[in-house]
């Protein structure tokens, strides 16, 4: 049963209307600003990639509501285990844009979370963050902290063994971990119907005696509601957010090879930003001018951020050797000196 609060046209469902009443104005506005900023940011990243300013990039357009809505329900003390496609989550919880840009520019410094954050560096090998999130949730439970760990992953990730092992562990030890799947219909080019014979991701929870929700992932209110509720359970929950990336898998991908324009058009009509804007405008929360003005501010911030990152000076030799071990071992010092000697004579540069 798909949970839906906000229809593609911007009208609230009955459940949506009740939920809307429970929200403070600040929350309503935050969600709107976040959705808009995340989209701006994401589009900028795609542009910068084309301009050669950053490396290969994984766009999130179309998935903003799933990311913003879920992340907005989190606490600062929650553990967040993102995949590589969670720029909207990062933005929502307050990871500096410079960090995100740095990461996609191949600068390891972008992986360092700000002090106090439990935002784990993006995970590239599919599904591997799930058992780790289980462990982090376990640590919280053992310390009696009230908080959760959330693991973000895609529909393709459900086919990996780590998905299964993580859900099994979480349910055996009854740990406060949310498994948040953005089912965007594809693992690169492979549609979910070829990924799995079960029709939904959510129904897999039963195999672990685990609660599950299936939610319209393009509906920021429903996602926010569901994650808030799930978070409160302090138990393992599987959440499937049905969504779609309207862009390519990454900037190196050509999505027209494996899906039709028609399909994309259907999903463009279910745009997560449009519907929430319609709601906010019709509720008189903001007018178009205000929105455009705010966009200008965000754009300025983004441009500052990329300039910041472009100033990058490679930290050599330390960037290669520091933090591999807690101290640089004797044997590695020779290698460190070698790099230093090349950096000094200028034969290594950026």
């Amino acid at each position: 049963m798909l949970i839906n609060h906000l229809l593609p046209c911007g009208a609230l469902t009955d459940d949506g209307a009740s939920f809307w009443l429970t929200l403070r104005e600040q929350e309503k506005l935050d969600l709107l600003r976040l959705l808009r900023s995340v989209r701006l940011f994401d589009r900028r990243m795609v542009l910068w990639q084309r301009q050669g300013k950053i490396g290969t990039y994984a766009p999130i357009e179309g998935q903003e509501a799933a990311q913003v809505g879920s992340a907005y329900a989190l606490d600062k003390t929650d553990w967040i285990f993102p995949s590589y496609r969670e720029q909207g989550v990062a933005y929502t919880v307050g990871i500096p844009m410079t960090s995100v840009i740095q990461y996609w520019s191949g600068q390891i410094e972008g992986c360092k979370p700000p002090a106090g954050y439990r935002y784990v560096p993006p995970t590239v090998p599919i599904a591997t963050q799930l058992p780790q999130a289980v462990g982090a949730a376990w640590a919280m439970k053992k310390r009696g902290e009230t908080g959760i760990a959330i693991a973000y992953f895609g529909d393709g990730a459900t086919s990996e063994g780590d998905f299964h092992e993580a859900l099994n562990f979480a349910s055996v030890y009854d740990l406060p971990v949310l498994f948040f799947c953005q089912n965007n219909g594809y693992a690169i080019s492979v549609p979910f119907s070829e990924q799995s014979a079960s029709k939904t991701v959510a129904e897999r929870a039963a195999a672990y005696d685990m609660d599950a929700y299936q939610v319209d992932g393009n509906d920021v209110l429903a996602v926010y509601d569901v994650v808030k509720t799930a978070r409160g359970k302090q138990r393992p929950v599987l959440i499937e957010a049905i969504t779609y990336r309207t862009g390519a898998h990454t900037t190196a991908d050509d999505a027209s090879r494996y899906r039709s324009e028609e399909e994309v058009r259907i999903w463009l009509n279910r745009d997560p930003l449009y519907r929430y804007e319609q709601l906010c405008l019709s509720e008189g929360l903001l007018d178009e001018d205000e929105l455009i003005q705010e966009d200008g501010q965000v754009t300025k911030q983004l441009d500052r951020a990329i300039r910041e990152v472009e100033k990058y000076q490679p930290n050599l030799p330390m960037g290669l050797f520091q933090h591999v071990y807690h101290q640089i071992p004797e044997c590695l010092k020779k290698q460190q000196e070698e790099v230093a000697s090349y950096a000094d004579n200028g034969s290594i540069h950026c």
């Binding site: 063994g161 044997c331 540069h349």
Partner: protein
Amino acid sequence: MLTMVQSIADAQRVALEADESVLLLGEDIGKNGGVFRATEGLWKQFGSERVIDTPLSEAGIVGSALGLAMGGFKPIVEIQFLSFITPAFEQIVSHVARMRLRSQGTFSNSMVIRAPYGGGIGAPELHSDSTEAYFVHTPGLRVVVPSSPFTAKGLLLGAVECPDPVLFLEPLRLYRTQKEEVPADHYILPIDRAKVIKQGEDVTLIGWGAMISLLKEADQLLLEQDISAEIIDVQSLSPIDEVTIFESVKKTGRAVIVHEAPRTCGVGAEIAARLSEEVIDSLEAPIKRVAGYDVPYPLFALEHAYLPSTDKIVRAVMELVYFQ
């Protein structure tokens, strides 16, 4: 004239045409033609029964490929990047490498596992690692690395023909950098032979894959210093063709081994160890390795500092030539 990635697609086309039992399995290899287009056009030509888009499940892919091999098929598996072979590591080392032995020759374990690998192209994290040594240390497997479009096709077809399981590593950096005349039909290069690609007198430069072009560049620089280098393309990392390497080093008296993988316990260590056991009395200098450092492959902003370079190779050779 084909690029390496085209010649690899071509080799697979030829293999699919020549032998009905050949099957392709992997993530995004069908409709999408592979994320690098290494299976471009094959799904269209051969259909989804032979060019199979699989779930995102490397243990499932390799494990079922082994079952298919046992059942008489010849799977060619694509692992999207070498780092993503680790979920299938158990299937490979505990089963694929051993099924022939365990069944005393009854069940086939013949398959090719293809994987793009290596750095230098500004790829995301865990998309540039060179982990060939894990597999060279695993008896029962073969490990083969081409260094040009022409060798890629011939070696891949050699791997397909081989009754043993072959890990076929494709240097990402070479996928599109070079075009070469590649015969359209079926031809095979031996997958158990190293190749002396340039004769020389003073030092043997030993490498494979993407390192070969680097060795050639270094050789140009060395020539300017009147140093004559012999270059060996190892090609077959396991089982390794040690004799070709020994012969060369006996002649030159000096060896520099170059690879991208971390130095410690890399394949360079094995080559150095064999040299130090078998031809030590011919050596006029220490054996040098120019390799990745003993750190995880860095995010790409620093990969230029991590990787072997002509500078590093030339410096190593100089140290050997002026060694006393």
